[in-house]
């Protein structure tokens, strides 16, 4: 398994070594390919039993979720088992404001949804972040369920178990069409009859939604990077390493924990809003604890603290069950087995953050020295 992570990190190293212009060209090329994936429909990757565009949308959506939860769990070290709650609040805010009780345009609903979720993050976080580690996990679990139960029962506001339908879509622009590729074995042909309109958000074509989600993923990744490489990121890391020592070094730890929580919540709300506008119909069954657990698993499998790791894990955990549909029934069984195996054999996740890799590399070379340090470090 070390070979896998060495492989990824080797790529990272070689990438870093390239001259600047080369990095930019490569990055743009990679981005273009990712955007065009559903158009290209590559034979081995495409999901034959389900709409590839829709699957990719979900991959991007859950990648967004994973980035948000990564801030909470990976950076700040707060175990949140109720993240679906924020997702649900985001989705239902859009539903309520866009369909059920008002007809606000989507582009207004989404920021409002983010603000509402952010506020809920602060409201939940302020009392609970003072609480001890284990308990935080349970309280957040409780919160997630309370949200769902309220959604089920507050009929007049949320439509109860019937849910909300006719959620508005993003505004359309009808500029041009992009034909898909069709493959015959390994030969590609352009299929003019199957086109995606740029940019039309309809029920039949998921691809524009995918593009929207993917763009948001890139934006949030960028902002995440900015946050991490600043006082905020350092404060989170220090708090996670040793909260008391951090506070004694002048870090207002509680404030930063709340900030992590609220930021994660806002991203969760954004994801939920996106989900709502794609599905156009939501009901409380979409927001069960199962998803919270799935999200946590994505972050842990990816390597908590590594934003690319969690994105890859999210995409993988979403795509794999769709690709290997014949295993559909046994999906959760395999998921469970994978988690157990991971816990035993690869707890650091697929792509642990660079730090722990550096530490491990050094450890492999410096057994004596580190024993000495270890003894003194008690």
């Amino acid at each position: 398994m070390n070979a896998v992570s060495s492989f990824f990190h080797g790529i990272g190293d070689r990438f870093r070594a390239l001259p600047r212009w080369a990095k930019i060209v490569l990055a743009i090329a990679a981005a273009v390919i990712v955007y065009l994936l559903p158009i290209i429909n590559p034979p081995l990757i495409t999901t034959t039993d389900s709409d590839f565009g829709a699957v990719l949308f979900l991959c991007a959506l859950y990648a967004l979720v994973a980035i948000g939860l990564n801030i909470v769990i990976g950076y700040a070290g707060l175990l949140d088992l109720g993240y679906i709650g924020f997702f649900a609040i985001g989705a239902f805010t859009v539903g309520i404001l866009g369909s059920n009780h008002a007809k606000l345009p989507l582009l207004l609903c989404i920021p409002i949804a983010m603000v509402v979720t952010l506020v809920s993050g602060i409201v939940l976080g302020a009392p609970t972040l003072r609480v001890r580690g284990d308990y935080l996990a349970i309280v957040t679990l409780g919160f997630g369920e309370i949200v769902r139960l309220i959604l089920v029962n507050a009929d007049s506001l949320t439509g109860g178990s019937r849910g909300i339908s006719n959620i508005p879509t993003p505004p359309d622009l009808d500029l041009f069409g992009i034909p898909h590729l069709v493959w015959d074995g390994f030969v590609a042909k352009v299929d003019l009859s199957n086109q995606t309109r740029f940019l039309q958000f309809g029920v039949t074509d998921s691809i524009p939604y995918y593009w929207l989600a993917l763009t948001l993923v890139f934006i949030v990744l960028f902002l995440d990077w900015r946050m991490q490489n600043s006082r905020v990121g350092r404060a989170w890391e220090a708090t996670r390493e040793d909260e008391d020592a951090a506070e004694l070094m002048g870090v207002p730890t509680f404030r930063f924990k709340l900030l992590a929580f609220a930021t994660g919540a806002a991203i969760g709300g954004l994801s939920g809003a996106l989900f709502a506008t794609k599905q156009q119909f939501i009901n409380p069954d979409n927001f069960t604890i199962l998803y919270s657990v799935l999200f946590v698993a994505m972050v842990v499998v990816g390597g908590q603290g590594n934003r690319w790791g969690v994105v890859v894990a999210a995409a993988l955990l979403t795509w794999a069950p769709e690709k290997f549909r014949f295993l559909a029934d046994a999906r959760f069984l395999l998921f469970g087995l994978a988690l157990m195996a991971l816990a035993i054999f690869r707890p650091q996740g697929l792509m642990p953050p660079r730090r722990s890799v550096r530490a491990k590399k050094a450890a492999e070379q410096e057994p004596d020295q580190l024993d000495v340090e270890g003894a003194a470090r008690v």
């Binding site: 409780g142 029962n153 469970g336």
Partner: protein, 328 residues
């Protein structure tokens, strides 16, 4: 509110009966937490497997045709089957999912991940139980056991609900009595065991300070195994009680019940055995009253709200932490 006041005792006794179920399951959570500082997510599946064991054994023995004293006999067999199975599943869980992690000194989050994975494996295995039999073409013969795996399986035991005696305006039924009675018996036995026996002392020692306990000659691994077995057995008893009250079980029956039982454990003070019992009863009754006042839809909200409120305002629970202390 009127509903509650008019049928106060009915709601109370029903609440206590469910509370007993929660209490016994809560014991498993609190014991394991006390000794390992681990939230055993998969404990709910330990319960569920126990319930299926009871159903299958009784089906195999043709319990549905029993009457009179035979019913009592099958009742006992049901309890035994459930308790033994749950204990074994719990033990298996410890060996496969948790022990390897202890050997590797894994951080607590990882143990939680393993617990979650195990929970999925156990519940899905039950939900997919027809598959392996289909391969061997045995699914029709064993249909009553493995058929329609995602649907509810009823308990094949006919117990006429006999209203026995009155508590104020409510006639307590025989089922209520069996449930509450067996629960109390289990609780007393456990309480005495932990307080008086050598093994019980070992559990308390390991919960407080594993290293010191080891230095004093307590075999930590054995204590841990014992903890899982006891917790499992209690869950098995709860499973039988649950079957008596509800009548059916299902592959995912463990989940909601597990969360509520965990709430009960926290409510009473995680790590505190008596707390788990108290928490279970309090939760059961609170839920019952809640459903009377707000409507049965809101029943589940009661449990979770209680959980959140307790953790915010009195995280040590009603009776405080005991066995050991929760970790920061």
């Amino acid at each position: 509110m009127d509903l509650l006041l008019n049928h106060f005792w009915e709601f109370t006794i029903t609440g206590l009966a469910f509370g007993a179920v929660y209490a016994l399951i809560a014991l498993g959570y609190t014991l394991v937490y006390g000794v390992l500082r681990l939230i055993n997510f998969a404990h709910s599946e330990v319960f569920m497997w126990g319930s299926f064991a009871a159903v299958w054994v009784l089906t195999a023995l043709g319990a549905s045709k029993a009457s009179g004293l035979g019913v009592v006999g099958f009742l006992v067999i049901g309890f035994a089957a459930a308790m033994v199975t749950s204990a074994l599943v719990a033990l298996g869980l410890e060996f496969v999912a948790y022990r390897p992690l202890r050997k590797r000194n894994s951080p607590p989050l990882i143990a939680l991940i393993s617990a979650i994975g195990a929970s999925f494996v156990l519940s899905e295995a039950m939900g997919l139980r027809d598959k392996p039999f289909k391969w061997f073409g045995l699914d029709t013969d064993l249909a009553s056991y493995v058929g329609r795996p995602r649907e509810a399986s009823p308990l094949p035991l006919n117990i006429d609900t006999v209203r026995l005696f009155r508590v104020f305006d409510y006639r307590v039924s025989n089922i209520d009595l069996i449930v509450l009675g067996s629960a109390i018996v289990m609780m007393v036995i456990l309480d005495q065991f932990v307080k008086r026996s050598r093994l019980g002392r070992g559990i308390r020692a390991v919960a407080q300070d594993p290293e010191a306990a080891a230095l004093m000659g307590v075999n930590r691994d054995r204590v841990i195994r014992l903890t899982f077995v006891i917790g499992g057995a209690m869950a098995g008893a709860a499973a039988m009680m649950y079957l008596l009250k509800i009548g059916v079980t299902r592959y995912n029956a463990g989940f909601l019940l597990g969360v509520k039982a965990f709430t009960a454990a926290v409510l009473g003070g995680i790590g505190n055995l008596r707390g788990a019992l108290l928490g279970g009863f309090v939760l059961g009754v609170a839920e019952s009253y809640g459903s009377a006042i707000f409507g049965s839809n809101w029943k589940d909200v009661v449990a979770f709200t209680l959980l959140v409120v307790i953790l915010l305002f009195r995280p040590t629970g009603l009776l405080g932490e005991s066995l050991g202390k929760a970790r920061a």
